[in-house]
């Protein structure tokens, strides 16, 4: 279990990005974190990844405190961040430092096959499209078989069609080993398609505002009325978090969880 206990972050310039954020995320759960800009969602993800230390509070994975990047935690960024001097195959194998070379090669080959880029194994990253590059980044993060995979707006730079493809593809890959996914996004559609639970954050300082369980089976039909309802309840909560009026009255009657007040 991934446990966040009163995680706070104040930057040296005095800006408080995150205030006492607590949440417990079950092994294998998919959690989407959504919120307006500046709500500290990326700060939170970086604290979980061990890239930036929290000012106070703790992040624990199976009772082990996380203060630095951890072998069981993988991360996918908004940009693919492939190493331009390595071939696609070498990029995917980047995190497999130890183990015999043949085993590494097999794992990479299997991952390439799995993300549908087997014929691109020897290509340079510059020869890939945006969607292909992000698929390589996903494969690179998944090959060491992390227990937790963090995703920081992973598909926001892609066009709508590619984004949908990759969302479905991510779920497909997730089903292989069922790691915990913590996804930061500003796309309500994406949150509802992927997540078991949506955490809504409120900005300045960033803190947890609301939680919405998405009780929908998979695969999810993006056009079903039920899906629409969940979307609306997330949107409503998001609007509330930003102190905006509720745009649509019947949104509150959605099947999502009741508001916390």
């Amino acid at each position: 279990m991934l446990a966040l206990d009163r995680v706070s972050k104040t930057y040296p310039n005095g800006v408080q990005a995150l205030a006492r954020f607590s949440a417990e995320i079950r092994q294998g759960e998919i959690v989407a974190i959504i919120g307006g800009s500046g709500c500290g969602k990326s700060t939170l993800l970086r604290a979980i990844a061990g890239l930036d230390r929290a000012s106070s509070g703790t992040v624990t994975l199976d009772n082990e405190a996380i203060a630095a990047p951890h072998a069981k935690i993988g991360i996918i960024f908004q940009e693919p961040r492939l190493l331009p001097w390595l071939s696609v195959a070498d990029n995917i194998g980047f995190g497999l430092a130890d183990g015999p070379a043949t085993e590494r090669r097999e794992k990479v080959a299997r991952a390439l096959e799995r993300v549908g880029l087997a014929e691109k194994a020897q290509a340079w990253p510059r020869e890939l499209s945006g969607g292909q590059a992000q698929r390589v980044a996903i494969a690179r993060a998944l090959v060491p078989q992390p227990e937790v995979l963090l995703l920081d707006e992973p598909f926001s730079a892609l066009d709508a069609f590619t984004r949908r493809d990759l969302q479905d593809h991510l779920l497909d890959l997730w089903a292989d080993t069922r790691p915990t996914l913590v996804l930061v996004t500003h796309d309500v559609d994406e949150a509802v398609v992927l997540a078991d639970r949506v955490l809504v954050m409120r900005p300045r300082p960033g803190r947890l505002f609301d939680q919405i369980e998405i009780n929908l089976g998979r695969p999810r039909d993006r056009n079903s009325p039920l899906f629409e309802n969940f979307k609306r309840s997330v949107l409503t909560s998001l609007d509330r978090s930003l102190d905006r009026g509720v745009p649509d009255r019947d949104a509150t009657q959605g099947p999502g969880q009741a508001m916390w007040w």
Partner: protein
Amino acid sequence: MISDAPVLQQTSEPAEGAAAPSRLNRYARPLLGILLPLTLALGWEFLVWRGWSNGRLVPPPSRVFATIIDLARSGELVRHIAATLGRVGLGFGFGVVAGTLLGAISGYWSLARRLVDPTVQALRAIPSLAWVPLFILWLGIFETSKIALIAVGVFFPVYLGVMGAILIVDRKIVEVGRTFRLSGPAMIRRILLPAVLPAYVVSLRVGLGLGWMFVVAAELIGASEGLGYLLLDGQQLGKPAQILAAIVIFAILGKLTDWLIEIAAAPFLRWQDAFGRATGA
């Protein structure tokens, strides 16, 4: 469907036509660079041949070429080239090793940069030739002082290139290394070195250029062999053809060694997605 045929034909024609100029370009492009010096050389040759100039102070290409042949026949040329190449090679080697190590340390470790960099920058501001008298006093008039001078010339651009390149390595890429928990040495080997390689190659080439510059200075000071000695000898004995011969050989050697670095680095830089690739420069 029938109307498709002429359209297809039309589109295939320009494609065939485009192949010819590109083939022409492949051979024509390097030739383009030779055009200007060749025209000037032939023009001067013609002027002297017609007797419009006696060519005593500015000997025509044929006379320079004859001098080179003479020097080569007597075995002098090989001796001078070997002496100069040896000095440049040693000085370049020492300068590159020192510049790379110190540059890497200063780039990677900010405390070292604060400690060392201001001093290095102050030393860099000294015109390198100002070291000559000191080096001669310290190291003697023979090889050591010459190699030291060349090494100093090579050191600064390499140091600056390596340090600067490390400082501007993309934080996002470094973070990838951090998420995979690379140790310090692994971070340097797997992320920083490949990332700085393009800039490093440029700094090596700049360093080599300065190395060639300083070997002349060193050999003008006091040498009994080397291309710089040929220059001085040509001046003292009034043999402009010999001076020009040495200059031509300098140009050839400089270009050749620069090209060697380029060729040696090319396989490691194939991944680059840069402006220079697209224009074929």
